[in-house]
């Protein structure tokens, strides 16, 4: 995730920067189109006080304090779980048995993480988000593993960056128990992409001090925006 703002890590490649810019531009116009659609719809439908177009998403506020951090983690785990569920439901061409075992394991871990947060948060949990994976070609190995790498590296950076916002040591430990599993996923996915290379902990994610990335929630939410139909806001996470 080179495009994320980090402390002292390598800057992104220009090509990736361009992709980011294009995506942002695209998102801006897509967002504009959606809100205009909503306005038109609400103008036409005076009887409905809360007009909602199915599948276009809602605004979801993660909340504040430690609950906000847990909901933030829950949101990311929802995305990961949905992604791998799709990966296993529609395997890419040429998926080997070994790859299928790994991706099924990861799917199960992410579902467990997701359901754990949902259970732990109870009535304070945010709703189920609607993912948007329309930009991912699930039939192609490169596309799927590339997206998996992005999700896992983002997950690691997100948990690392959120740790300092947590006030309860019990929650901090929980985050720690999960982030190392996400890091294991990231390393294995990277090893599938470039076997037996330095990529599992490549210089693009681990800086010269030997540190993985730590990225604050606002930057992570901006980076995953393209993959969620709902608009997720986390302005008070950890506050």
């Amino acid at each position: 995730m080179n495009k994320l703002k980090t402390k002292g890590n390598n800057p992104g490649h220009d090509e990736e920067k361009n992709t980011t810019v294009n995506r942002r531009l695209f998102l801006r116009s897509a967002g504009l189109a959606t809100s205009m659609g909503t306005i038109i719809l609400s103008a036409c439908n005076d009887d409905d006080p809360d007009p909602m177009i199915p599948g276009t998403g809602d605004t979801v506020d993660l909340g504040s304090g430690d609950i906000g951090v847990l909901n933030y983690a829950y949101a990311l785990e929802q995305l990961e779980a949905a992604f791998y569920t799709q990966v296993i439901a529609t395997p890419y061409a040429g998926m080997t048995d070994a790859e299928k075992t790994i991706l099924t394991d990861i799917r199960d871990h992410e579902i467990i993480h997701r359901d754990f947060f949902k259970t732990a948060l109870g009535s304070k949990a945010i709703k189920g988000l609607t993912p948007n994976f329309s930009t991912i070609d699930f039939t192609k190995r490169d596309a799927v593993l590339g997206a998996a790498k992005l999700f896992e590296d983002t997950g690691v950076a997100a948990y690392n960056g959120a740790g300092r916002l947590i006030k309860d040591t019990g929650y901090l430990l929980l985050a720690g128990k999960i982030v190392s599993v996400e890091a294991r996923h990231a390393a294995v996915i990277r090893d599938l992409i470039n076997p037996k290379s330095a990529d599992f902990a490549g210089d693009d994610v681990v800086n010269a001090d030997g540190f993985d990335k730590a990225v604050p929630p606002a930057d992570i939410l901006a980076a995953v925006k393209a993959y969620v139909k709902d608009s997720v806001t986390g302005a008070n996470v950890g506050k």
Partner: protein
């Protein structure tokens, strides 16, 4: 105002002030000092750095020295392994070169961060009192010890996170190192699975399975955050335990690492 004279004075009291100064705020200094910003800004900058250096609580210093002990151990281990002739096959060199690079960086970072408070490097016995006699001659042994050290490292850092909650910046550093150790552990475990022909060994830890029992003690835990999650989402115990890594206390880690340390 001569900033360098002040640093010299300060150095007399605190032996590693310059080192920490450089580390804590190289960028800050580059921006402010080398650009010859107004002299008035300099005392402010200096005060920030001194406060930063002394913001470490006694607890944080203990934790950092504990981490440093483990990083010294890992660094020495990979230095010896990477230097040994006919040990690591050419196909796997890139992996262990990268791991070694990170462990060297972790040592350098911690030594700098601790300054005068950094403990000295112990001398190590990688045969583990003769139990791993072939550690630098037999690849199978080397990879097994590597995966054991990395998994211990992950559990050790995790066990200390709560102790750093009052030092958010140090906590974040620790987390950033912790996840790198987990990346190392995952690939070392996959290599170990291949060379030992143990297909059940994966990048993640299933139940409490592992080559060295004390390193995996408690990994089979299925209670998280006070919630029994056995059977969560209809998943197996194996999957539930793989989804969470468990901490080790400092005492548990020192008991595991102790036989590696000669003096």
């Amino acid at each position: 105002m001569d900033i360098f004279k002040i640093i010299d004075e300060f150095q007399k009291i605190d032996g590693d002030a310059a080192g920490r100064l450089e580390h804590a705020s190289r960028r800050f200094f580059m921006n402010r000092v080398s650009r010859k910003l107004a002299a008035a800004a300099v005392p402010v900058a200096f005060a920030t750095i001194v406060n930063k250096a002394y913001a470490q609580s006694a607890k944080a210093i203990d934790v950092l020295n504990y981490a440093l002990t483990l990083e010294y151990l890992e660094d020495e281990f990979y230095k010896a392994g990477n230097a040994a002739a006919n040990l690591i096959p050419a196909s796997d060199k890139a992996i262990f070169t990268q791991i070694g690079k990170h462990e060297t960086a972790h040592v350098a970072f911690l030594v700098k961060a601790l300054g005068a408070k950094a403990i000295a490097k112990p001398s190590f016995d990688f045969t583990y009192k003769g139990n791993f006699g072939t550690v630098f001659t037999d690849y199978k042994t080397f990879v097994t010890v590597s995966s054991a050290l990395e998994d211990t490292g992950v559990r050790a850092y995790k066990g200390q996170a709560g102790e750093l909650i009052a030092d958010p910046q140090i906590l974040e550093y620790a987390l950033q190192v912790h996840s790198v150790e987990a990346r190392h552990a995952a690939v070392a475990r996959r290599l170990a699975a291949t060379v030992t022909g143990n297909a059940a060994m994966k990048g993640w830890i299933t139940l409490n399975q592992g080559a060295v029992a004390p390193i995996y003690a408690g990994e089979q835990n299925t209670t998280q955050g006070g919630v029994d999650i056995k059977g969560l989402a209809s998943k197996s115990d194996a999957a539930v335990t793989e989804a969470f890594d468990e901490p080790l206390t400092m005492e548990q880690v020192l008991a595991i690492a102790g036989p590696f340390i000669k003096a």
